[in-house]
Amino acid sequence: MKQDFPILSRKVNGKTLVYLDNAATTQKPNCVIDSMSQFYSLSNANVHRAVHTLAGEATEGYEACRKLLKLRYNASRAVITSGTTEAINLVARSWGEFNLQSGDVVVLTEMEHHSDIVPWQMLAERKAIELRYVPVIDGKLDMDAFDVALDGAKLVCVVHTSNVLGIRNPVEDIISSAKNVGARVLLDAAQAVPHEMIDFRELGADFMAFSAHKMCGPTGIGALLVSDDAFDEMEPFMGGGDMIETVTLQGSTYQSNEHKFEAGTPRIAEGVGWAAALEWISQIDLESHHKRLLAIASDVKNELVARGMTVYSSLGPQDAAVISFNHPTIHPEDFARLLDAQGIAVRTGHHCAQPLMEKLGVSGTIRASFYLYNDVSDAEALITGIDKVLEAMS
């Protein structure tokens, strides 16, 4: 598969790139790169407006992305956003603002990415809602505490799969319990959709946010899937072109479909690119790749533990192939720079999950995250690279 990804043959610091920062963003196959280049070369125009041929092609290309999203995830509503962050902010602004009142409870977890914490803190300031955080114990959500926190909840926001630990939360149980108390559920699925097929309707969540770039699509585009019931409760917060039905000097009426949440010229080329990525990934057996990558990651974990590292990821059978680890004395930044010097790209820092870092008792970790094009050779290169760092720092 590596030959489909031109970037993977480049050299970094004189060595062939070993890309293990996939939880941050994934690389793009030729078909995605070509589709965007072809769009700009042949079909570039604005969407939903003009009657000329290019406008028709652009509209078709962009809306194909929405169609594919609905089809792949079995959703009736797919709002195109700039990514997961904007999708979550859209829920806070377009649903939270209009459906939550002072004193209402929103349940979050300590495992959330900042993008699923900050919008709710901002809303809490505006609406005086109560935020309850489900604790993380031994790297897992405390489900007993979750049940307690649910009391009186109007909304539950939970990360499907952690970007730090790779752990897949028991979202089916979470949704079922939340529904029992009449709460709506928002899933941050940014790290989930790259690794597993999700049937949004069957899962029963009300909102699901994710990004294209973590599943081999372009940056700058993502989606919010919305259940029909929740969609009817949303009001647009951003006004402008494309989202209206009619505008007079006295007032405006809005589109009834997803367009009412997509004011302005959308990310057309990115939509075309994401459509290409969705078609590409639909040919991939995610489940078998997931098993393969998890086996590779587990072997790496064993090697790391054998070298005295602390590994925070449990790598259970449903978890993503994400390994967060630390060395007892070598700073993560030193470690990552010395790996980069060998062409190996890993992430370091708090991974935009500072509350979770605090819970783990660290300021940051080194994170190696694997994706479809990674293989055993990448894992071997990582371990060899780590050994060179350990030798240099001893």
Binding site: E333, D334, L338, A341
Partner: protein, 137 residues
Amino acid sequence: MTWSAPIQEIIDEFQDIDEQFERLQVLMDFSDEVEVLPVEEWTEVNLVKGCQSIAHIEVEIADGTVWMKAAADAKIVQGLQGILSIAVNGSTPEQVLSLTPEFAEEAGILNSLTPSRSNGFRTMFDIVQNNVRRTIE
């Protein structure tokens, strides 16, 4: 450009290195050049705000010369502080203010270190110069 002898020595040392891994190793060796700011003197004021590592810099002017103390939990960052220390310690405030960070570029340190959100050499260089400027004004 003409640099002071200690700075030129740093440039020469780095220019001879081809491998990035070795360059980082040498950079980490410079962490020993820092007069370490003790942990009990780490404050919000002397904290270098950033995402990745914890770094502190304190700048003093005594008897007309600049002296910096610093510390970082990442060795590479403290190595950068070591190079900065060599460049500024013992200089007059005017010399420090006329210094530019290009010497690090010439040494290949700036280009070889992908910038994180902060804690980069330029950030720490600016902190030292701003401290000197504030003190003499």
